[in-house]
Subunit: 353 residues, 2 copies
Amino acid sequence: MSQDAQVSSSSAPTLEDVARVAGVSRATVSRVVNGVRNVDPAIQEAVRAAVTATGYRPNRAARSLVTRRAETIALVVSGAGGDSPEEQDAFAARAFGDPFFGRVVSGVIGYLRPHGMHPVLMFAETAAARAEVVAYLRQGSADGALVVSTHAEDPLPPMLAEAGLAAVLFARPARPVPLSYVDLDHRDGGRLAAERLLGLGRRRPATIAGPLDVPAGQERLAGFRDAMARGGQPYVPVAEGGFTARSGAEAMARLLADHPDLDAVFAANDLMAEGACRVLLEQGRRVPEDVAVVGFDDSPAATACRPPLTTVRQPVEDMAAEMARLLRQRIEAPGTPVTSAVFDPELVVRESA
Amino acid sequence: MSQDAQVSSSSAPTLEDVARVAGVSRATVSRVVNGVRNVDPAIQEAVRAAVTATGYRPNRAARSLVTRRAETIALVVSGAGGDSPEEQDAFAARAFGDPFFGRVVSGVIGYLRPHGMHPVLMFAETAAARAEVVAYLRQGSADGALVVSTHAEDPLPPMLAEAGLAAVLFARPARPVPLSYVDLDHRDGGRLAAERLLGLGRRRPATIAGPLDVPAGQERLAGFRDAMARGGQPYVPVAEGGFTARSGAEAMARLLADHPDLDAVFAANDLMAEGACRVLLEQGRRVPEDVAVVGFDDSPAATACRPPLTTVRQPVEDMAAEMARLLRQRIEAPGTPVTSAVFDPELVVRESA
DNA sequence: AGCTGCCCTGAGAGCGCTCTCCCCCTGTTG
DNA sequence: CAACAGGGGGAGAGCGCTCTCAGGGCAGCT
């Protein structure tokens, strides 16, 4: 039946059509369709019936035109990549190759969906792409942006802030930007790793830190060291890595050379932990018997690793959902001050520690 | 200066503003901004100057309202999942955990970007979500859909076709649907694997097939068998797997039990190949010396595997770009008949064969 | 010179929706 | 009973854009 009505009007039904069917004015239908405000229940009922009878769907463009809201938000994967097409492909592949983004997307959609919104996916890996993101938002095609940066020195957030656009970041930017963000309590993650190792009775720990110019890298290390110090281990050898398996392996080799008697390693991410495990195994150390290893992220690398890694997990979906919530809030009430939401990590115990 | 103009008009500049600055009518500015048609070069110049001076950006909603084009397309990750929130999360994580989707996204964006379009990301894993995708499109919020199904029996494509909506699929659906699609020549992929193994002098091949109710599963097998037959190996033992590492391992164990002297295995995807390698190694077979293994997909599992897998790669980015191109074409000219674009796979030689 | 026809430009009518008036009707109060 | 308040509903003005239509100017033709 709804199809008949649909077809008869030769095109998608409009408010006008619904009004005619319900025997009321356009304004009343609009009132019912949107936040119902002061409408006689009987009429509401009639309108609702007319809506289903006609198969009416509000035209988003028409609505946006007058409300000046796109009812759309941009999900921007941002980073400082190169400008060649190959690098762009590589950027995208790298970004999405990491299941981390899948979890972000999942969390964002999980929040947005009940609100009838859908994210527009954008990459901002080049200067041109960043300009386009800003233009897209200024143009009103999206009401705000959710930004996930792959690099700490991402130039996009400052651009967004300067243009006065609504945006929320995943992870605290390296230098302060007047934008809300969600982040993990990396310090606490480091603490969790330390306490696990301490609880296992390990007394000669070492750590493979992430890049120390990235907040996450610094804080995971700081948290680990603090907790170790509190646990009676004031001195912890550190080797810096670059969040890759190879860098983890190299760092592990250095640590082993300098401290052959170590019995525990905390790597600031799973990839480095995996590299570390490989080196450990190659050098004849058993994991976890001889050396316990704790990673960070709970990425697939954690389960793929032999042995499966004990690791620190971030509630990425929850964080992403909160990011979306903060953005919506900012869009609704542009005046609200910027805030941040910091989430607690969780220790996932597997076999490596 | 563009900022001054921007600010002075207190809000985003409109066509009217540009027209005033350029000293022409709205219509003329519109003509210049869009496909320039019969406009005096001098006036074009003046308009363009006014556009940059004012920092004008067409309002997408207003334009969409009259053109009845959203200039947006939906990128739908579709599948038949469960309806619980956990399953939805799992769905998303699974979908994006697979770098395959990253490559699809990358290819789609690569094509769309130069056309000033951006994809809206949607999941269609439940009946409600599917209904919403259809509603979203009927509502005109997007001009068409790019559908990537995780299951062969995805109900979304038929729904889209029936609603008369523009859509293009990734991979041929299990049962015919009047929709265009892009796909890989899976048969040829099977052939490539067979010829590699044959070229290596292997004479006792076996294969771990994918699910045989999926076109890709059937065709990879058929192509492999045909090429083997042509190469003088009419009989090839088959074990069916489910595209997971575990199923690959189990299939491998079965094959080994029945055919202990096999010297080559073609697994219909890398995950199964990885599982197969593990079993092979556990049972004391060396890869590739005793048994050569070829996978399919060239996923990260291929490089993560010990030894790294020789595998068949699909040009996913190109396929995704073509999918977007076909969709745009269909949107521009709705009358054109549905077509399909079949791409050629490529053998990537690593160490396992 | 007068006419035809073409090229270019402007005027203006909407696209479908929201939202501000404004009016009417009912219920309440002096 | 008159005056008023207030809730419920309709009329209508746009939001910014595209596109049709008509008109003005000019070249080429008879």
